[in-house]
């Protein structure tokens, strides 16, 4: 990855974070914490990894992305908007009556959303169905899905992972956002899903562990995912919940709370400073 490429991704990720703050602030609701922890991944997926075209969002041969941790829709929407699927300005309509930007992703209303999700554990199953169908239909497209480390407490996730290995879905990439926090507290205190990589390996996955805020490591992991044949691939990314907004970082309280006006100003101030710094480089 060239330095410029990396900088462009950092700029994209910063804009995704701004979209998350804009959306949740305007909605006075939503989930900034897990959206911010995955913001770098959203940026990488939509600005580098996925074979997609904002002008042709229903192209049958496109790569698919399923946001299994559907509550982090603000992050997905911000990535889609900045990638050109719909106007960035619309992010402010998040969760409002009449808006197509529903609280959780709705494939029937949002351009670029490949599966309706929100009820945890179901998206990864749908992604398995897509990957199976793609293979059956002889398509070369790939399927990506992003889960939370709390979400994987759902039993259905493990049904899906069993399925992925059984049907040798090597066109599937399962990404787990290991930010360590869920609504009621640290994952280790609520219901430990650890050790995640060991469990994935036991389910037959090839696993990469990366820093979820490092684009270079993402690039290497996705390259390895594409080279892996015969078994599905998983990326466990270690992240900081609330990443990029100082007062939200590692604070469980920011899982599902919107910033008020003062908090909004502070967050946007920080992000604007980051953006200015990147653009000045």
């Amino acid at each position: 990855m060239t330095a410029n490429e990396k900088k462009q991704l950092q700029i994209a990720a910063c804009k995704v974070r701004m979209g998350i703050i804009e959306g949740t602030h305007a909605a006075k609701a939503g989930h900034p914490g897990g959206s911010l922890s995955a913001a770098d991944m959203f940026a990488y997926l939509y600005f580098k990894e996925l074979n997609i075209d904002p002008a042709d969002p229903k192209n049958p041969d496109r790569d698919r992305f399923v946001l299994s941790k559907g509550h982090t829709a603000p992050g997905l929407y911000a990535a889609l908007a900045n990638r050109g699927f719909f106007p960035v300005e619309d992010l402010k309509t998040l969760r409002q009556i009449g808006s197509y930007l529903q609280g959780h992703p709705n494939m029937d209303t949002v351009p670029g959303v490949d599966m309706s999700t929100g009820s945890l554990g179901q998206g990864v199953s749908a992604a398995c169905g897509m990957a199976l169908a793609a293979k059956h239909m002889g398509k070369t497209c790939r399927v990506y899905t992003l889960l939370g480390d709390g979400e994987i407490e759902e039993g259905e996730v493990w049904e899906a992972l069993m399925f992925a290995h059984h049907y040798k879905l090597d066109n599937l990439c399962v990404i787990i956002d290991n930010n360590g926090l869920q609504i009621d507290g640290p994952v280790t205190e609520v219901m430990s899903s650890y050790p995640i990589p060991d469990k994935l390996r036991a389910f037959g996955f090839e696993v990469a562990e990366i820093d979820g805020h490092d684009f270079g490591q993402m690039e290497a992991a996705f390259a390895k995912a594409k080279e892996t044949k015969g078994v599905p691939f998983a990326i466990v990314m270690h992240t900081t919940k609330g990443k990029g907004v100082s007062y939200m970082e590692n604070q469980v309280g920011w899982h599902g709370k919107a910033p008020n006006d003062a908090e909004y100003e502070q967050a946007m101030g920080e992000l604007n400073a980051q953006l200015a710094g990147l653009e000045a480089e």
Binding site: Q122, S125, A126, M130, L132, A133, E156, Y167
Partner: protein
């Protein structure tokens, strides 16, 4: 009815899938370790590359089917009604119903006639559960001919469909040559003016038998096969209400939330004066026993229908 041909509608389902598979490459089938019982193995034998066993994981199966449907395939997902509609309700609701994906759910072993397995497997709540999902088509065929036509119609329909088939063999009452099926349309099997019996599933044959008995007593019974519970053929219900003034519903389902309540709602809101009695499984669980004995015991029989119709 000893000389009448009897076929379980789950057999019809398997046979119809096989025919559908021959005609359409986009048909795929999912099962959850019950292929021999749901009869999707009939399809599997001919099209093994289009039959995917999901193991004992019905929730995952439903969302997998949703994902496959989003790619343009037409998945038929099968299990027992208890697990398809019951255990996997939320996957059906959120991953199939909410995005209105083109998944066909073929649920077998509905109702009390599951028999010996007992209450844990006798699903009498599936119509209620599936009816409550916006946009879901809910159907239950009376016999082999109707079941096969229903599977073909489900394929042609764009959107989610729930079909409930039975475990036990039931009389074939339709003529395959002349029969045509339409989703959302009931069928008057016998004209009558005193009482209308609106039934589905294996209660349709029982209703016909009851009508025969009652004809001998000078009571004219209209028998309606209401294979589609949702969307309900409201016009046919109201016509029966106006012309007969008395309706008895009969279904192998809880009297709560099924065909009976759907009919009651239509009549109550129409203002058409009409007395309705519901035959179904009362607010109780079933238990083990041979299917025929259970049906009799729970009043899901021609004899009981005739008894309810008489003072109606």
């Amino acid at each position: 009815m000893a000389d009448v041909k009897k076929i379980a509608t789950r057999e019809s389902y398997g046979n119809a899938l096989k025919e559908l598979g021959a005609a359409h490459d986009d048909v795929i089938v999912f099962d959850a370790d019950l292929s021999n019982a749901t009869k999707t193995n009939t399809f599997q034998k001919v099209y093994p590359e289009r039959h995917f066993n999901c193991g004992i994981a019905e929730g995952n199966m439903m969302a997998v089917a949703a994902g496959a449907a989003s790619m343009g395939l037409v998945p038929f997902a099968s299990s027992f009604a208890m697990f398809a509609a019951g255990r996997a309700f939320e996957q059906v609701r959120n991953s199939i119903g909410y995005p209105h994906l083109n998944v066909k759910i073929g649920a077998t072993h509905g109702g009390i006639s599951v028999g010996e397995d007992g209450a844990s497997h006798q699903c009498c709540e599936d119509f209620a559960l599936m009816r409550s999902i916006p946009g879901m088509v809910v159907m239950s065929p009376a016999d082999d001919v109707e079941a096969k036509a229903m599977v073909r119609a489900a394929y042609e329909h764009e959107g989610p469909v729930y079909m409930r088939f039975g475990r036990s063999a039931v009389p074939v009452i339709h003529d395959e040559e002349s029969y045509s099926f339409q989703i959302g349309k009931g069928e008057v099997l016998r004209e009558g003016t005193d009482v209308a019996v609106i039934a589905n599933g294996l209660l349709v044959a029982e209703a016909l038998e009851a009508a025969d008995t009652l004809a001998g007593e000078g009571i004219s019974v209209r028998v309606i096969d209401m294979a589609t519970i949702k969307p309900l053929d409201e016009a046919l219900v109201l016509k029966a209400a106006r012309e007969c003034g008395k309706i008895v519903t009969a279904e192998e389902h809880s009297i709560i939330g099924g065909l009976g309540e759907a009919v009651c709602a239509v009549i109550a809101e129409s203002g058409v004066p009409c007395k309705v009695k519901r035959i179904g499984v009362n607010d109780e669980f079933g238990h083990s026993g041979p299917a025929a004995a259970l049906l009799k015991q729970f009043g899901l029989s021609a004899e009981h229908i005739a008894k309810v119709v008489l003072p109606a």
